[in-house]
Assembly symmetry: C2
Homo-oligomer: 528 residues x 2
């Protein structure tokens, strides 16, 4: 196991004792809880019965085939320390190579120790998110190299847009966590980018955030920033998972060094690891969805098992990202019927293991057109019916993930809210059944203005952000705005209304001091 | 019961004896069957377990409340002959009024005689559609007053556009039937419009079509045109439902004369009646979705019961069209979270009675933007998961049904095909699980060009009509086309490729003679 290298800051680094800061944080949280009292979109629960696209026998066949892959073919594990840990746990490491093979029994023993659910703790407790079971959590887009809005066009990621997108994530309760850097701000040097970006996450939002697993030191810095942001000790952080990291396998069948290091640092400290193979059927995985699922499952199980080798009981999620490619061009396709089936089957597999399920809201459109909407809507259909617990890229994903779109973010927020409203149980009280109202109105009347209607009309239905329901004439007089026009207007309005969530000045000071110190130390080494 | 007033044409009206025509029809059908051998989209089956939004007790509560409505409040039945039939069947008619009340027992006795499924017969047997069970049938948009494409803008319905839309319905196998007049061709005089329109249905398509219930004579003309089109006797037509009619109640709680006449003419001849209340919550129905469902159910059951009073065992569908209004403007809203819940609950109700379920693919957008796509996609989500059997307005519906859009038609066809592909069972054969392919490629390789991929790549994935998956640069060079651009191009290409389905010249001649005769007779009386 790796050592815990997080050094708690000495009291001299801040002007407030830790105890006071913790209490202050508590009061701040209380205030925030009150201000969010009316929110309908925290703590979403998806109680509908989950859809199946294959039967239990098939799930068992995929499961067994994936165990055969791990037993007979194995994974290439590109980190000596990880191979040592795996060997110590009972895996078969072929000497002089990266190849590691895992017996069925070993994998299943490790899977058995994963928790079926856990809480991710935000610096504002109201923003804590429950992972697993029927809980449904939406995370903003992560890791796009480009950013776009209609006014400024498509451009490389940068700090200004990064901050705007993080502010938007804070502005809507339906976005439960950020998902990573919504766009990669390449105007910040890579050696210190994570310091600036994560510091912004603490200051501009009060939600849970993500640590990139790009070398051990970045993980350690992220852990410290999360700890400071919450105003707690390293011990408490270890008791309360507060940070998550996405671990992508390098498909097919490879675990790269930084990813393995990420698991080692994060799982060792009881933080959340999300193991997600990126198995594009026909490219990095078999051209059949069933085959891609076998490979996805093998890769996911190997990574998940490794988290448990690092620390039994460490919180982990089963990630699915199987989609298909356009066989004419090799381009990845998203939000397709094949994607839908893979998402739902992935949910069946994750539930078979009792591990929370991560999936995504995807599309491949280059703009905010009907395609962007239908591919996303089909993704949402699948991930809702398939029982996704933690939804990455839930808002803002455009162009197959290459671009964070401001307008798409608003479109997605609207669609996510519609999903939440759909999942809200129908009021079926005697009063809602409305027999008296029907009696009062009688044949041939209408319900506008009745007491039953007046008592409810303001909150009866979801009021969408974007949908333009004006009649054709009024809409024409208004200049025939499209969804794209509305989204463009609204993201700017929302940015204008943005207010920073309360943050204890002592915490901010400690955070700034930490970032300044780490910058003076040179941040982290980079290859470029 | 009404008399069967269809007069079989005498042999002298055509140059071919009926027997020969029937055989010829048979051969023509055989030819068509062959030419459709490769179609994946005929006879769709939706085997996924249906989603529930309320529990069985709530369904029972809605059921009981709706029976109370029919027992205590009753319906206004605006046709003396219908009231007489209802009275004869045991309903309570209040003398001197239109009000009819129905005992619970009477309603349930009538519901018990409805068939749980049936076949609708097309003039090409390959196009027969199975209604009920897990079958899923898509019908084109019906009854829009306006028509639009991007080149010509929005305009009043007319014969030229009517014909184009009917040709498009014929061009895609995923459109199983037309749904009525896709647009109302107001340039044809109302007295003879049905003759021209239905004659076009026979000539331009070989699919099942719809008869408007706008007075007895129109129903009778439609029955005769359907009979001629299939080249069969009136007796055979009565054994084989070949025509359907949508019966909208006049919500709240009214059945109007033409609708009641439609049931009497169509059910008497064993043709298909689709009873669909239009219960907009907050307008013609209670503002609560539960209340709107109670009213929908009461109205639907009253109409369905009446079909069985006319003829026990007559084929009938339970129609649901509950949605909400925009409470700010009163404008109808579609494809909303509330619509989704109503669609799914409607399916639960229809299955409770064992009656095939009709619902719709809706949206309220004024153009082909993201809203058009997400509202439609949410509708498709609900109707698929909710077990819709017969989907009206499945393609082309725009602007809350006011406009038939050529581009939206193509968008919907693409989305319907995606639904069909989603419903196609996953291949989970040992070969599809792909263990050997995974073994061959091994860690770090790729699956492009492997034997497993090459054997499948051409048919592995759905190839969408509209989705533009080119990378940003290539797409930019191509002029940044949106889904709207692609749909605009494709509907015109498809119209250029259109070919009339084979039709026996003898049948065409008989049809023309019938239409000519009926026009000379003046068609039907009109009020204007």
């Amino acid at each position: 196991m790796s050592d815990n290298q997080v050094t708690p800051p000495s009291l001299s680094e801040t002007d407030a004792p830790l105890e006071r800061r913790r209490r202050t944080g508590g009061r701040g949280a209380e205030r925030s809880r009150k201000s969010l009292g009316g929110s309908k979109y925290l703590n979403l629960v998806n109680s509908i019965e989950k859809t199946k696209v294959v039967d239990e026998e098939t799930i068992e066949a995929i499961h067994q085939a994936s165990l055969t892959v791990l037993e007979e073919i194995g994974m290439d594990v590109i980190l000596p320390e990880a191979r040592s840990l795996m060997k110590a746990a009972g895996a078969k490491v072929t000497p002089g190579t990266d190849r590691v093979r895992f017996d069925r029994g070993l994998i299943m023993e490790m899977i058995a120790s994963t928790p079926s659910g856990f809480t991710m703790h935000a610096r504002n407790p109201v923003r804590n998110v429950q992972i697993g079971g029927n809980n449904l959590v939406f995370a903003q887009i992560a890791s796009a190299p480009f950013v776009a809005d209609r006014d400024g066009g498509r451009r490389a990621g940068n700090q200004e847009d990064y901050r705007k997108l993080v502010k938007l994530a804070q502005s809507y309760d339906i976005i439960h966590t950020t998902g990573g850097y919504p766009v990669e701000p390449v105007d910040i040097h890579a050696s210190v980018r994570h310091l600036d970006c994560l510091s912004d996450m603490v200051k501009l939002t009060d939600k849970v955030f993500h640590a990139y697993s790009l070398g051990k030191q970045r993980n350690l810095d992220a852990l410290e920033i999360a700890r400071i942001g919450r105003g707690i000790t390293a011990e408490q952080l270890e008791q309360e998972p507060s940070l998550f990291t996405i671990i992508n396998t390098s498909s097919p069948l490879r675990l790269d060094g930084p990813m393995l290091q990420g698991i080692m640092e994060m799982s060792a400290r009881n933080q959340v690891v999300v193991v997600t193979p990126f198995t594009l059927a026909g490219a990095m995985a078999p051209v059949t969805i069933a085959g891609a699922l076998v490979q996805q499952n093998a890769e996911a199980l190997s990574g998940i098992a490794f988290t448990q080798m690092v620390r039994r009981g460490a919180p982990v999620m089963y990630g699915g990202f199987t989609s298909n490619v356009d066989m004419k061009t090799g381009a990845p396709a998203f939000g397709t019927p094949e994607y839908m089936k893979a998402v739902i089957a992935g949910g069946q597999l994750a539930r078979r293991y009792g591990i929370p399920y991560r999936t995504s809201n995807t599309n491949a459109s280059n703009t905010l057109d009907a395609q962007a909407a239908y591919e996303s809507a089909l993704s949402l259909w699948a991930l809702t019916q398939g029982g996704g617990n933690f939804i990455m890229h839930a808002a803002g994903w455009s162009e197959g993930g290459l671009t964070a779109s401001f307008e798409k973010f608003i479109l997605d927020v609207d669609m996510l809210q519609m999903v939440a409203e759909f999942l809200k149980p129908l009021d079926v009280s005697a009063d809602a059944l409305g027999l008296d109202a029907i009696r009062d109105v009688g044949p041939g009347g209408h319900f506008f203005g009745t007491a039953h209607t007046l008592a409810r009309y303001e909150t009866a239905f979801y009021a969408p952000i974007l949908s333009d329901w004006r009649n054709f004439e009024t809409w024409t007089e208004a200049g025939r705005p499209t969804t794209y026009d509305h989204a463009n207007r609204i993201f700017k309005e929302k940015l204008n209304e943005y207010e920073r969530p309360p943050l204890d000045p002592a915490i901010e000071e400690e955070l700034d001091a930490f970032v300044a110190r780490r910058k003076i130390e040179g941040g982290v080494p980079t290859d470029f």
